[in-house]
């Protein structure tokens, strides 16, 4: 029995199209990514970029939510959240970074085109970018962060990296040394959560080719090789009014809830890969030199058991979060602080469990755990990098407290 079957998930909540999509992606990533890993490792040009193009353009994940009248697939109903998990865990199983990139695209699509919350004007302006042509669209977010600027406007304690001001029928967007969530080097579209001087913050879409964007050099980082990130050293862009997708927290809570769903699903995918690796190791490794199969040693079996537990729990959590988003009304409502908080919480838990499980697997595999040849260490680096992009857990706990305890000044 393979990992997809033995690690539990709520199969009955997925419709046939979801299962077919997952099977298609599984076949694709096994052939196009996993089979080429040993040779190409984390080669961006030869492995990761072409794979991203196939997943997003050819399979069509970047068209998923957009309305059919704009060339999309119109899969934007309540069950779309399950589709997101089914797809991203397959991609994440092959490459965490690719799934992380795809999660950005899917979260933006959901926030703009979800049934009942569609942003008509913005959809009309941007659907064609995703739905026409065969180029993959790389989406990046610019979110509040721990900045160095005193007196910067804040959102939930962190500083806005970008400020925006209306100017006629346009918005002027500006920032310095902005750190995007991913692919700053080559993003086709930035979604920036901006401070606005005299009103609610605005979420503004800035195409990557807008004049006034100066990208820095590629950052050297722990993992997520599929995401070539760079700071935006200067952002002084003017975009049409339609690029302002929403004002106020509701839209951003919605966007982030879907983003966190994607992160949880990606972590689940990494754990499925980890499970497959340690399963093979446990079956074949002999220790103590006397036909003592690794998985039958009580100490190592206990660690392997814990890894299976973490993998199962994270997979179930990811699907449960999909269920919460698909029935948002039961959990505080679509775009609510309640759902945002739950999604943040579960994403952090998924990443922490994935980090823990892969850490423990590396313990078992010793040098094979950290040698690039054995593939495992890549998931460990990628999951940690993804967790860091969720934001500081110490500060996320404040978000949890704000919701669960009605804190007054926090």
């Amino acid at each position: 029995m393979n990992a997809m079957e033995i690690i539990p998930f709520p199969r009955k909540r997925l419709d046939k199209a979801d299962l077919d999509l997952a099977a298609t992606l599984q076949a694709l990533v096994e052939k196009e990514i996993m089979d080429k890993r040993l040779e190409l490792k984390e080669d961006y040009e030869q492995l990761l970029a072409p794979s991203f193009a196939r997943i997003m353009s050819e399979i069509g994940l970047q068209k998923m939510f957009w309305p059919e009248e704009h060339g999309g697939e119109g899969h934007n109903g309540p069950d779309a959240a399950y589709t997101v998990v089914a797809a991203l865990e397959q991609i994440g199983r092959a490459d965490t970074g690719l799934a992380f990139l795809a999660a950005h695209s899917l979260a933006l699509q959901a926030a703009l085109a979800q049934e009942g919350a569609r942003r008509e004007e913005t959809c009309a302006a941007f659907a064609s970018l995703f739905c026409s042509g065969d180029r993959p669209v790389r989406v990046s977010f610019i979110l509040p962060a721990l900045t160095e600027e005193e007196g910067a406007p804040e959102w939930r304690g962190k500083g806005f990296q970008v400020v925006a001001a209306p100017s006629g029928n346009a918005w002027k967007v500006s920032g310095r040394m902005v750190r995007p969530t991913c692919c700053g080097l080559d993003a086709d579209l930035f979604g920036a959560w901006c401070a606005v001087a005299d009103g609610d913050p605005a979420f503004i879409l800035v195409p990557g080719d807008t004049p006034g964007i100066a990208r820095g050099t590629e950052l050297k980082k722990t993992g997520l090789a599929a995401s070539r990130n760079a700071d935006l050293e200067r952002l002084e862009a003017t975009v049409p009014d339609a690029n302002c997708a929403w004002r106020g927290n509701e839209g951003t809570f919605r966007l982030l809830s879907w983003y966190y769903l994607g992160v949880a699903a990606t972590a689940s995918g990494a754990l499925l890969a980890n499970y497959e690796i340690i399963r093979e190791w446990g079956d074949n490794r002999v220790i103590k030199g006397k036909d003592h199969i690794f998985k039958d040693n009580p100490l190592t079996a206990a660690v392997m058991g814990e890894v299976a537990k973490d993998t199962s729990v994270v997979r179930l959590l990811a699907y449960e979060l999909a269920g919460m988003l698909s029935e948002a009304g039961e959990y505080g409502g679509d775009g609510s602080q309640a759902l945002y908080t739950m999604a943040l919480m579960l994403a952090h838990q998924a990443c922490a469990s994935a980090e823990h499980a892969i850490n423990r697997t590396m313990e078992l595999m010793a040098s094979a755990g950290y040698a690039k040849e054995w593939q495992l260490e890549r998931y460990w680096r990628d999951v940690k990098a993804m967790q860091c992009h969720l934001g500081a857990y110490e500060l996320a706990k404040h978000d949890f407290a704000r919701w669960f305890y009605d804190t007054v000044t926090l």
Binding site: A145, I287, M362, A371, K372, K384, H389, A392, Y393, E394
Partner: protein, 422 residues
């Protein structure tokens, strides 16, 4: 302003060379290593950037001589009762910059533990090899070849596996040993090592410790082949590779000590190796402390420097408390390795178990608290420019050097609970 020197050390028993060594190493890492270390990952194969600082440290400053007796051109530390405490300080200082370099430096001396320490000093071999290391200003590396393709940590697990799994053979032929076998992962291989100590069996499948032999082999002997360096998650300065021995002939007297004693004194490598790992953890954590202190002072949250947030301060305190604890415990371990008169012989399973206990506990603490710190730094935690992620990657590898965590646990349980079948 607080600095890493505010973390506690047991001043009662630092080595007489501590001040001198400390200042030499501090200046060396600041000038020769830290400015270049962010490029080390890509240098894992060639060591274009890693070699020059090693040349200065090992060759020009002469640190590669330190374990050899003074009359052979060395510093005589092998005969001192402060070798490990002095090493702890050196290891910490190097690991603050790069724990891969610290491991490569420490592992250089592992082969010589068999022949340079009392009461089993092998004068003839010391005389044979001292000139290679003491009469040059070029860096010279040595390697201890243990791990084999089958069984992983089984070789290190001498007490229970008793060498039964060793596949590298040493066969007597006249006045020579003929060595055949395949080793994996020794530090300082990949073409670096000029001298190797090879763990062999003289009787394959035997569980008699007298059949475990540690035999020295020079790199330029016919039949020795070092493979290309492995690519790893980190630790680029610690070069590792496959190494093959095909009908390699060495004199019989190249055996480290002799039947029974080679296996027995293998425990000294385990004890000091695990002590060294604690020092590397301590050094790396002190550098993370420096970077974290800067980060949390510069970055702002809710209108204040991040470090002024009560919730964040809890994590910062955890990090500092762990350094305090690991550093003091580590020095105590070094002291225990030095003072056989107080703590018993260095090779003894009791001391090995105690070193393993402290090592795996320190590493668990490092992994937990550094993972949390990386996350606190958000995207910058994964950014090579902030250095924390490098230490996080490097030290995960150190967790698995000289036997996995599970082997550590087994050895600790075996000694403290008198387990008989583990």
């Amino acid at each position: 302003m607080r600095s890493i020197d505010d973390f506690t050390r047991p001043l009662e028993y630092i080595s007489p060379m501590d001040g001198l060594l400390g200042s030499i190493f501090r200046e060396w890492v600041e000038k020769e290593v830290i400015p270049y270390r962010r490029q080390f990952d890509e240098d894992y194969r060639e060591h274009h950037l890693i070699h020059p600082p090693f040349k200065k440290l090992l060759g020009e400053y002469g640190l590669q001589r330190m374990i050899f007796p003074e009359d052979l051109g060395g510093w005589g530390m092998g005969r001192s009762n402060y070798m490990c405490v002095a090493a702890f300080r050196m290891f910490e200082e190097i690991a603050r910059a790069d724990s891969g370099m610290a491991l490569a430096f420490g592992a250089l001396f592992w082969p010589f533990l068999f022949i340079a320490l009392e009461p089993h000093e092998n004068r003839r071999l010391l005389e044979e090899f001292a000139p290679m290391f003491c009469e040059t200003t070029e860096p010279v590396f040595a390697a201890l070849c243990m791990t084999e393709p089958q069984g992983g940590s089984d070789i290190e697990n001498v007490e229970i596996v008793k060498g039964t799994t060793i596949q590298t053979t040493a066969v007597k032929d006249g006045d020579e040993w003929v060595i055949n076998g395949h080793k994996l992962w020794p530090s300082n291989t990949g073409g670096l090592a000029k001298l190797m100590a090879v763990v062999c069996t003289t009787n394959p499948g035997s569980d008699d410790p007298r059949d475990i032999a540690v035999i020295f082999v020079k790199d330029d002997m016919p039949g020795v082949t070092q493979g290309p360096p492995y690519e790893k998650a980190g630790m680029a300065a610690d070069m590792n590779s496959d190494i093959w021995f095909e009908n390699v002939r060495v004199p019989l007297w190249y055996r480290a000590i002799g039947p029974g004693d080679d296996a027995k004194y293998f425990g000294e490598v385990m004890a000091t190796g695990n002590m060294g790992i604690i020092a590397w953890i301590s050094g790396a954590m002190m550098n993370i402390y420096e970077r974290l202190s800067e980060y949390t002072s510069r970055k702002r949250y809710r209108g204040k420097p991040l470090k002024e947030d009560d919730g964040v301060a809890g994590l910062l305190a955890d990090f500092a408390a762990n350094i305090e604890n690991i550093r003091i415990v580590g020095y105590q371990c070094a002291r225990m390795c030095d003072r056989h008169d107080l703590y018993g012989p260095l090779w003894h399973p009791r001391l090995v178990a105690k070193m393993r206990a402290q090592r795996y506990l320190a590493m668990d603490r490092f992994i937990d608290v550094t993972g949390r710190v990386m996350n606190l730094m958000e995207a910058y935690g994964t950014d090579r420019d902030w250095d924390v992620e490098k230490h996080w990657r490097d030290l995960k590898i150190l967790q698995l050097v000289e036997g996995s965590k599970q082997l550590c646990q087994i050895e600790v349980a075996r000694w403290f609970y008198e387990c008989e079948t583990l």
